[in-house]
């Protein structure tokens, strides 16, 4: 049986030592989020994750959701756990105080999401989608929609979904067929079929609010012809209570590789009553509010699953006695040495540890930047923070889920044959993490987003939010007592990334296939190098603590060693991506289709 302990010490290290979560409490509206408050909230959140959600992860996977004539039942214990979760107010955390929320900053949510995804990702998706729906209604909905629906979402008694994909289109949403016909009372009648709807139907909440993309009569056949509608499972009466059943039903649920405890639904809409969210034909814009948040959250899922997989690989590597150390016996009182004595096993564990810790730093930092982008008094500071978040969204989504899969697989393999056996729990993480590379825009789409949208946006302004501070950092730390030794290697990596940027920008302008051909390699370089930057920031912070004689020297010393491992053994992985990128599109396009 796997185990989970929330990595509180590491979380606090990132929040307090590496970055100043204190700065968030200085922003207007976030005054309550002082470091001690953040610590108390995370501590209690960790208990819920460890004691309530985690024990249902394996059983939920094995039992899965069941469908019976449109009614979906979640696995045993999920309803009770969900009730505990909402009664303790966790769904209201970052919701706005005027609509039922606690108004806490995003960074607290980011940390909570990591722990939930480690503990029970399938469970986490139910409240996670509600949060996305909350944001979309809050940003784009009318005052009446907000007053009717937001407090219920914050309370968690109602939940949300996003209904985009149809049987014939997912990535290219311009093709959707779902129709919305305006009615005299200002509402719309919506008809169509949506597939792959996570949490589309379940027994956890009284009502489910579907945010549905559909086309108005005569709308253009592109993404500029899509509108967003709120379609409740049960119509809501004027007094706010639940009325009759609306024409949206779950036709079936999918049988999937992973996330068995989250219902993935086919939703049939048959003259369902809906309400326009935002302006007609501007549905994609509204949907992107949800999607950008969701993409960061999916990156968190990759990280969360990597963490739980690593924790258990580590336990096993220390427990499993097989053979003796290559350089002699390490545990003479035991029949054999634990496998952690072997360089090959350490390589796996260190790769996991160094990538996870850097990924945690990158996502938390981005969470803090989000809060600054929302609330900082200075418009330039807000813009720069927003640029960072926009630039890093595809990098976090794709790189951390790619790494999540990589780490889950390595962690499973540390168990040898036992990793392949269901009851050890390790293969579940591999099955669960795969979807994170696919949904909310496949990782291939993220690469195109990075190269096609983010790279050239405002003549490269987004890129500056990364390159400027990183180049300054390199310059300022060449002689640093601890990390100075890495600055040459790191500096070279960053200049390769700059070269790759220029190459893709120039070649891509002339021939878009060139941009498409290099996009995945470019994102990989960006991911590997961003995590290198985070490792250096962590080593710097750890070094300061050691110099000051503060805290646990062993803990901080491990950070220095982890940084060294990353810079020496993981950072070079951008080389191959760089060289592949330079070869261009020709080697991909040279074959005719029938030559494959």
């Amino acid at each position: 049986m796997p185990q989970y302990k929330a990595p509180i010490e590491n979380i606090n290290f990132i929040l307090n030592d590496v970055f100043n979560v204190e700065d968030v409490a200085k922003l207007e509206g976030y005054e309550e989020a002082t470091p001690d408050m953040v610590e108390a909230i995370i501590g209690e959140g960790a208990r819920i994750c460890e004691d309530v959600l985690f024990p249902l992860n394996q059983s939920g996977d094995q039992e899965g959701c069941t469908w019976d004539d449109g009614v979906v039942t979640t696995p045993k214990g999920f309803k009770e756990a969900y009730d505990t979760y909402i009664q303790n107010g966790w769904t209201s955390m970052v919701a706005h105080p005027e609509y039922g929320g606690q108004g806490l900053p995003q960074i607290v949510q980011v940390v909570m999401e990591e722990m939930i995804c480690s503990a029970n990702m399938s469970f986490g998706m139910y409240p996670g989608l509600s949060k996305g729906a909350y944001d979309a209604i809050y940003m784009h909905g009318s005052e009446q929609l907000k007053e009717t629906y937001l407090p219920k979402l914050a309370e968690g008694t109602w939940s949300g979904t996003m209904c985009l994909t149809e049987p014939h289109c997912g990535t290219d949403l311009g093709q959707i067929k779902t129709k919305a016909v305006p009615k005299d009372d200002g509402s719309y009648e919506i008809t169509g079929t949506k597939i792959f709807i996570s949490a589309g139907e379940h027994d956890l909440t009284e009502n489910i609010l579907h945010l549905v993309l559909a086309k108005l009569p005569g709308a253009p056949d592109t993404t500029r012809g899509i509108s967003l509608f709120l379609v409740p499972k049960f119509n809501v009466k004027s007094d706010g209570t639940i009325g009759d059943r609306n024409g949206i039903k779950c036709g079936s649920i999918e049988h999937k590789m992973g996330i068995h405890a989250n219902a993935t639904c086919v939703m049939n809409l048959d003259d369902a009553k809906g309400f326009l969210v935002g302006k007609p034909n501007e549905g994609m814009k509204a949907m992107f509010t949800m999607m950008n948040m969701a993409r960061l959250a999916v990156g968190m899922q990759g990280l969360g699953l990597a963490e739980i997989a690593y924790q258990n690989a580590l336990v096993y590597a220390k427990d499993r006695l097989q053979g003796r150390g290559l350089d002699g016996t390490k545990a003479p009182d035991k029949p054999a040495d634990p496998i952690i004595v072997h360089p090959g096993v350490r390589l796996e564990l260190l790769r996991m540890k160094s990538v996870i810790e850097a990924g945690r730093a990158l996502t938390y930092y981005t969470g803090i930047r989000e809060d600054i982008a929302h609330k900082h008094p200075d418009a330039d500071v807000r813009q720069e923070a927003a640029d960072w978040v926009a630039l890093m969204t595809p990098v976090i989504k794709a790189h951390l889920t790619d790494m999540g899969y990589d780490i889950a697989t390595r962690a499973m393999e540390v168990y040898g044959g036992h990793g392949f056996i269901q009851e050890w729990g390790m293969e579940q993480y591999v099955r669960d993490v795969e979807i994170t590379k696919i949904y909310e825009g496949t990782n291939g789409i993220q690469a195109l987003d990075l190269v096609g949208r983010k790279m050239g946006q405002n003549t490269g302004r987004l890129l500056r939010s990364f390159f400027h501070p990183v180049l300054e950092f390199i310059d300022a730390h060449k002689d640093h007592a601890e990390i100075g030794q890495y600055m040459e290697a790191f500096g070279k990596s960053v200049s390769k990334l700059q070269n790759a940027t220029i190459t893709l920008a120039t070649k891509g302008l002339k021939n878009p296939l060139e941009a498409g051909a290099g996009a995945k390699d470019y994102l990989k370089m960006f991911g590997v190098i961003s995590l290198g930057y985070m490792q250096l920031l962590m080593a710097k912070a750890a070094h300061e603590k050691i110099e000051a004689g503060a805290g646990d020297p062993k803990f901080y010393d491990a950070k220095l060693k982890c940084c060294r491992y990353y810079i020496e053994r993981v950072l070079p992985e951008h080389y191959s991506a760089y060289h592949a990128l330079l070869t261009g599109a020709d080697n991909l396009m040279a074959l005719s289709e029938d030559q494959f």
């Binding site: 408050m37 108390a40 909230i41 209690e44 303790n88 107010g89 606690q102």
Partner: protein, 249 residues
């Protein structure tokens, strides 16, 4: 009714205790500390009594370093109304704790004191009894059930032979056992409200109590490592070993 609950900050029950290299005690540097589990149960019981309308106010008190404020905040997030920290960095022995609590009782005049039967660090199981004796109050220790019965408190105690029910006249001292209740998770809104609840800091001298230790700890050592067992060849060998080596039959 006013309830006073004593809570202690201890080494987290999940953490493996390690002895300091100089054998002077358990190493508490850089390890996770939490509320003593028995104290959590005590807070929970008080909060339940308040929710049932049996109590109007819950005051929690802790004796320890300034970080014990976090432990008190946890109790406030669970539902206590206000807290008192008697700040002291040194280890305080049960009798001194009981004397300090007596001082708090005299100041606050609660009708009931609920506390853990013991803390998982010292495992003394003395303070509640000492406090009751110092106050001259009735005591219901190792409680697994507490009910209000008219003017009395009916306390079911877990004793060696089974369960014993005692009737206590109030005011009284109750110490909690593990099966009394299952403590709640603090809700997010209550964690946030807890910060605004009053928390007073006092010093042992405010109560005129001498807290200097009366017991000298010579050394603390880890228990000997368990040795690997052996497989006996026959029943005769087993009986022989039980008689002559283990000397249990």
């Amino acid at each position: 009714m006013k309830i006073l609950v004593a809570v202690k900050r201890v080494l987290d029950y999940n953490v493996k205790a390690r002895v300091k290299s100089d054998q002077s005690g358990v190493d508490l540097s850089n390890v996770k500390m939490s509320m003593n589990p028995f104290c959590e149960i005590a807070v929970e019981e008080a909060v339940r009594m308040k929710e049932k309308g049996l109590a109007e106010e819950i005051i929690t008190v802790s004796i320890g370093p300034s970080q014990a404020q976090e432990t008190l905040r946890t109790s406030l997030a669970m539902g206590a109304d206000r807290s008192i920290l008697i700040e002291i960095d040194e280890n305080v022995e049960p009798l001194a704790v009981a004397k300090l609590l007596k001082g708090v009782v005299e100041k606050e005049s609660p009708n009931l004191v609920i506390m853990g039967k013991q803390s998982i660090d010292g495992d003394n199981n003395q303070t509640g009894q000492m406090l009751a004796a110092l106050l001259g109050w009735g005591q219901g220790t190792f409680a697994s059930k507490v009910e209000k019965d008219g003017d009395q408190l009916k306390v079911t105690r877990e004793v060696d032979g089974g369960l014993e029910t005692v009737g206590l006249k109030l005011p009284a001292v109750v110490t909690t056992d593990l099966r009394l209740n299952e403590p709640r998770y603090a809700s997010l809104p209550n964690i946030m409200k807890a910060k605004k609840k009053p928390l007073d800091t006092m010093a042992p001298s405010d109560f005129g109590v001498d807290v200097s230790p009366r017991v000298v700890t010579l050394k603390v050592t880890e228990p000997p490592k368990r040795e690997a067992g052996i497989k006996v060849e026959s029943v005769e060998q087993l009986v022989d070993k039980l008689q002559n080596e283990a000397k249990v039959i």
